[in-house]
């Protein structure tokens, strides 16, 4: 079989399907072509089922034609090319013969061992999250000090270390920093970072494959376990129970456990009491939102790490406006720096203000014709009903024309729709109004200014 069969099939199908169908259902598929078989791998069961139901026949037709082989078999299953197929495939389609269930289970467990835990190769640590790159301030001093202690003396006094605080305050950063320092000082240490959701996913897979004892052995053999966002254990009882046992086993062996959560452990509803109580055995530290000085320092550090020197007044400008959390702060900085990179403009306060205009505005104000009529009427001190009336006196006709021109500029209504909204007028009247207003703005400075003020009032 020639290489690139699936690519050629996609080329054919591109002419027949909408972009949306292609992007949602066909382009996520990865193809493995072997011999007389084209195996399509879907990222999940939902895609697999959808493709089987809606596109199977046509794909087969196209593939057989493209391969010039009417016997080509085309299959779709869940998996990725790298790991061949994930356990999910086997879960739905592996139906071991009744005679050999034990062997099937054993194979399955072996597969879990080979592949699981799924979500990471190695420790799962992000190398950019270190103590060096963590900006210290009053808001996080204690949490940082405790984390450093733990990294230097794992399994010692603070076990477990429980870090809590709102989103985007640096919980995950500190956790990775602990892991990175630990691994640097103790290259042999088995450190694993994972989000609580991944723990749940792993456990579910292990259960499906009768590999729960492997699962237990894996997690209990770690020297340090870092589990992020344990609030996602809420409502998952079986996972909580399994985690409880893992947790106890690690603590008994004096292995270090670090946990993060978005709130104080006792306040997490839907978490078992015995878990909450255990979490409090070690040290619980909070992360608070950063103060202005810390926010400035974070911005300067971030810019520096992207190779850009951020003027201090710009850092202050951003820090004063974005107060909630560090992640939002980074988002704002990213916006400003991207804009500067694109335009080649130096980063000044004025420039930052302009770059963040959209971000700072809570919403693209939805401009409606009703709103325009109301605003224009107020501005010219006439009544909305006058604008909609048949009256033609200058004092009413001019504001009406302005309102029509604004409706054309600021909404995407059709001219007939605009005419209708202004007392059922013809679309040619609207067109005339737009021309008239444009002409007046060119001749009359005060008219031009009025118009600009109105546009600004309406759209910001």
């Amino acid at each position: 079989m020639k290489a690139g069969l699936w690519k050629r099939c996609l080329g054919e199908l591109e002419a027949e399907l909408s972009e949306q169908q292609l992007n949602t259902w066909l382009r996520p598929l990865q193809a493995v072509e072997d011999g007389a078989c084209l195996r399509l791998l879907a990222p999940n069961r939902f895609v697999r089922d959808w493709v089987s139901e809606h596109f199977a026949q046509r794909i087969s037709e196209v593939a057989r034609a493209a391969a010039g082989s009417p016997d080509l078999s085309v299959t779709v299953s869940v998996g990725t090319r790298e790991s061949r197929a994930t356990p999910e495939t086997r879960e739905t389609s592996a139906k071991p013969a009744a005679a050999a269930p034990a062997r099937a289970a054993e194979n399955s467990a072996r597969r879990w061992r080979a592949e699981g835990p799924t979500h990471k190769s190695g420790s799962g640590l992000r190398t950019d999250f270190t103590f060096e790159s963590f900006v210290e301030g009053k808001c996080n001093q204690l949490a940082r000090a405790a984390s450093l202690q733990v990294a230097q003396n794992p399994g010692g006094s603070y076990n477990p270390l429980f870090i809590y605080g709102g989103v985007g305050l640096g919980k995950t950063h500190l956790m990775h920093a602990i892991g990175n320092l630990l691994v640097r000082d103790r290259p042999q240490a088995r450190v694993s970072y994972l989000h609580s959701e991944w723990f749940v996913t792993d456990m579910v897979k292990a259960l499906q494959h009768n590999a729960i004892s492997d699962f237990k052995r894996h997690y209990r053999s770690l020297d340090t376990l870092l589990i992020d966002d344990i609030q996602f254990f809420v409502g998952k009882e079986r996972s909580q129970e399994e985690f409880f046992h893992t947790f106890n086993a690690l603590l008994e062996e004096q292995q270090q456990v670090v946990l993060t959560c978005d709130r104080y452990p006792k306040e997490v509803e839907g978490l078992e009491e015995r878990l909450k109580s255990r979490f409090g055995w070690g040290l619980t530290v909070a992360l608070e939102p950063p103060d202005t000085e810390t926010r400035v320092a974070i911005l300067m550090r971030k810019a520096q790490s992207s190779g850009i020197t951020l003027p201090e007044d710009v850092a202050f400008f951003i820090a004063k406006r974005i107060r909630s959390n560090v992640r939002e702060l980074e988002g704002s900085l990213r916006r400003v720096l991207a804009n500067a990179q694109f335009t080649g403009h130096p980063v000044t306060v004025e420039f930052a203000k302009e770059s963040l205009k959209d971000l700072l505005a809570l919403q693209d104000k939805l401009v409606t014709m009703e709103n325009i009529q109301k605003t224009v009427a107020e501005f010219y001190k006439v009544k909305v009903s006058d604008l909609l009336s048949k009256r033609r006196s200058r004092s009413v006709a001019r504001p009406r024309q302005v309102a029509m021109a604004l409706s054309k500029e600021l909404t995407s209504h059709s001219l007939p729709e605009i005419g209708q909204a202004f007392g059922d007028r013809d679309h040619t009247t609207v067109l005339h109004a737009c021309k008239k207003v444009a002409e007046l703005r060119g001749q009359d400075a005060s008219m031009a200014e009025d118009y600009t003020i109105l546009v600004r009032t309406l759209s910001t």
């Binding site: 002419a15 037709e61 988002g331 916006r335």
Partner: protein, 258 residues
Amino acid sequence: MAERPFSPPPGPGATGGPVRREAGDPSPAVQLWLPIGLRSAPSFANFVPGANTEALHWVELLARGEGPEALYLWGGPGVGKTHLLEAACREAAGRGEPVACVPLAGPERLEPALLGGLESAALVCVDDLQAVAGGAAWEEALFHLMNALRATGGRLLLTGRAPVGALGLALPDLASRVGAALVLHLAPLSDGERAEALRVRARERGFLLPDDVVDYLLRRFPRDLPTLVGLLDRLDEGSLAARRRVTLALVRELLDGA
């Protein structure tokens, strides 16, 4: 059996080339196989940027894997969010990369399970975030997808109708991650740029759009691009069917009373 084989055995249609079904085909499959091959696919080249040149720039970089890891594009209906998203998918797919797109406001009934495993794609696009804002299962699935993408290094392109703070996301973890992406606003085109966009689309379909026709369209109909491009499709089909050039007279015949 390890895999699910496709049902149809090799049959009459199996050896022929692509069969475009005619409109009258009673086959239930007809809905899925509309003759849309005639239409031009959204690309970076046929995007008329207007005030959105910067957004275009970053989306192009993202699609090539050179720019930011995550982008959030927001703006009102018809400003080109989906166009850019589809252009990005086409660009990445054209280089043989697996891409995945989740149209949250599309006509199909989707479930959060659709997001599972998408992090294996090089580029993941999620269109119309506002459609699932406030839905706990979707938001959590999106949050996990964003975390998983950080681990795999896959890129993410999100779109929505409002800035992050006004989207109505209930899960703060998700809102904060979306907000940390490069956030770009798409502004609507002016009438002149809309006219240009229409001419570009018409050229791709192989016909010239006379100025008086452009004026007529902009005067008589809602001026958002999806509506205007929809009209263009009707003109295209109508002129092909009537074997006449697109003139104001033909346009009036086809669209008056529309």
